[in-house]
Symmetry: C2
Subunit: 338 residues, 2 copies
DNA sequence: CTGAAAGCGCTTACAG
DNA sequence: CTGAAAGCGCTTACAG
């Protein structure tokens, strides 16, 4: 029934050894501090025997290190973010870090609140898909030399580390792909957002449309609408843009609602309407016809993010990392003009 | 340039007020401790002015409370878990709790390690999809009266709180639905697992097959195979079970690989083969034909999980909650015998 | 090679 | 109504 949980002081008393020595041994500093092998073994054996677990709360308080990385995403239930989260989690775990996460839903107040809670908790590092309204918090962290990497989007003209996709080029290539396949009236359905990645996707679309001497058809909508509403808006857009022979959706959730809309309208893909999605999704490969998409290199992104963060965590590296990765256009049947 | 971060002691000195009083005021105990309104206002104003933020690490250490809930899922990149996680996160945030999460991948060692890290961090509460090999850790927490709720599956004959689906009945109903639609040779593709939810799904299938006097065709496979391998095994199974007129997949990731396999084999759904999935997925509604699925009440699950956990966190409730929720069979076109 | 002691920043029982 | 002081369980500079 002796289910007491031991403290360092308890061990010290039982073993007649100072807490200092035990602490050194437990923290792998036995050699550095020139603890005798005898003492080390004696301590380790007893620690094992009574199953002593240091109180990490006390340790964190004392050292100021939490071994926790804050991960802020737009929406953990979106497959892009959840896949990335899974990879980041795995890699972080390998290095002894845990993940505290939060979804912003692109709501600045929510993001601000999350940032504040992260900061209050003195997390060791941050991986953040930033929204509007938290630039101050991010700058504050960076200025305090807290390791932090942005992803998916970043702030223009900033001195932050980031790993993002080459959204502009990907969007440009998507339009080029449609043009190469004979489409001429290409619509673009996107989110009304000032976020860098969405701006770049729009800019890439516009540049390509201009480069090929085509006419732009752009449908903007708010991010925080229900799926049914997004679907409805796409239906309306397609109805009054009869001239379109292809649509390019700027995110996977828009594409999914777009496919619902196209189904509702009874249009045949790609005969009546070509379709291309920014961001891949498992549904696109199963869809009949299969849906052409721009795939983000999620593995590489996770790799880079963790690599950069760990470098900053361990060696306090100050070098600026601003990485732009290329996407891959996965050509499927929805973009083959018949 | 005075960017110092204040401590309680700093405030006390500056204001000529004891740290005790400030602490009471900041923790909303001003009334209870009968602090004068004057003092309260003076303190709050100064706290605001210098933007004082209590060190949560110190507070957690002192109180033993972290305001963090550990969420252990099978795989955060699976849409069932990521959707649930999003809902849990939202509700937890409303009550001031953050989520520390981890994916087990159904690997006992990984789960054990996660549990130990959670425990070491003295989290306030746990929401766990248990795997094999961590029953000891879970019992240990429950015996120490740490709030903990299991979900998705539980341990048989246990005294743990849980929220699960009525997997047995759902699987039974799925077979009944196929039988009602004229299917007679119904295969079941599932994971070779001792986990309660998978056992129940299998048992439900078997009971229904027996009840309707049919012949069982069961394909078991390991959980931790790559998608391509799972797809291959399903192709093989379908090839050598030509008599099948329908297949029931026990999880959404199996269904997705099943759809790939069926596509590869060039079979028409539902003419050549009826299809039904345990667990819904956005791809099923877009698929042509649409895929019949058993949908889990994710909203309700998240609600119940948080409700139970908060009750235990706040009022230390000891009442046992073992909740089994019904699923919904969403009848789509893949199960209509033609 | 080892240990006594200070201190991290809070909260709270106790005293007045 | 308010405050002095102990203590949570570690880590580490310092002394020997």
């Amino acid at each position: 029934m002796k289910k007491k949980t031991y403290t360092l002081a308890d061990l010290a008393k039982k073993l007649n050894v100072s807490a200092t020595s035990i602490s050194f041994i437990l923290n792998g500093k036995a050699e550095e501090k020139r603890i005798s092998a005898d003492l080390k073994e004696k301590v380790l054996r007893f620690v094992e025997e009574v199953n002593y677990k240091p109180n990490l709360l006390a340790r964190s308080f004392r050292t100021g290190k939490t071994n926790i990385i804050g991960l802020m995403v737009e929406d953990i239930s979106n497959s892009f973010f959840s896949k990335l989260a899974r990879l980041i989690e795995e890699k972080a775990n390998q290095y002894g870090y845990k993940i505290l996460y939060g979804s912003t839903g692109n709501v600045p107040d929510k993001a601000k609140e999350l940032m504040q809670m992260f900061i209050d908790r003195r997390l060791d590092g941050y991986i953040i898909a930033p929204t509007e309204g938290i630039r101050d918090e991010i700058d504050q962290l960076v200025n305090s030399h807290v390791p932090l990497v942005l992803f998916d989007r970043h702030y223009e003209s900033s001195q932050h580390d980031y790993v993002v996709l080459d959204n502009y080029q990907c969007a440009f290539n998507a339009v080029k792909h449609l043009v190469d396949n004979g489409f001429k009236e290409i619509g673009f359905v996107t989110i009304n957002s000032v976020q860098q990645q969405m701006q770049q996707r729009l800019a890439g679309y516009q540049a390509a449309i201009e480069a090929y001497g085509l006419k732009p058809y752009i449908k903007l909508m708010a991010y925080n609408l229900e799926d049914a509403k997004k679907c409805k808006l796409i239906v309306d857009f397609l109805k009054k843009s009869k001239q379109l022979d292809a649509v390019f959706f700027s995110t996977n959730y828009l594409s999914i609602n777009g496919l619902r809309a196209i189904k509702e309208l009874g249009l045949a893909i790609p005969k009546d309407l070509g379709v291309l999605s920014f961001d891949d999704h498992v549904a696109f490969e199963l869809h009949n016809p299969t849906i052409t998409a721009i795939a983000q290199p999620i593995d590489q992104m996770a790799d880079q993010l963790i690599k950069i963060l760990l470098a900053k965590l361990s060696v306090n590296e100050e070098h600026l990392h601003q990485i732009t990765l290329p996407g891959t256009l996965i050509s499927r049947n929805s973009s083959l003009k018949q």
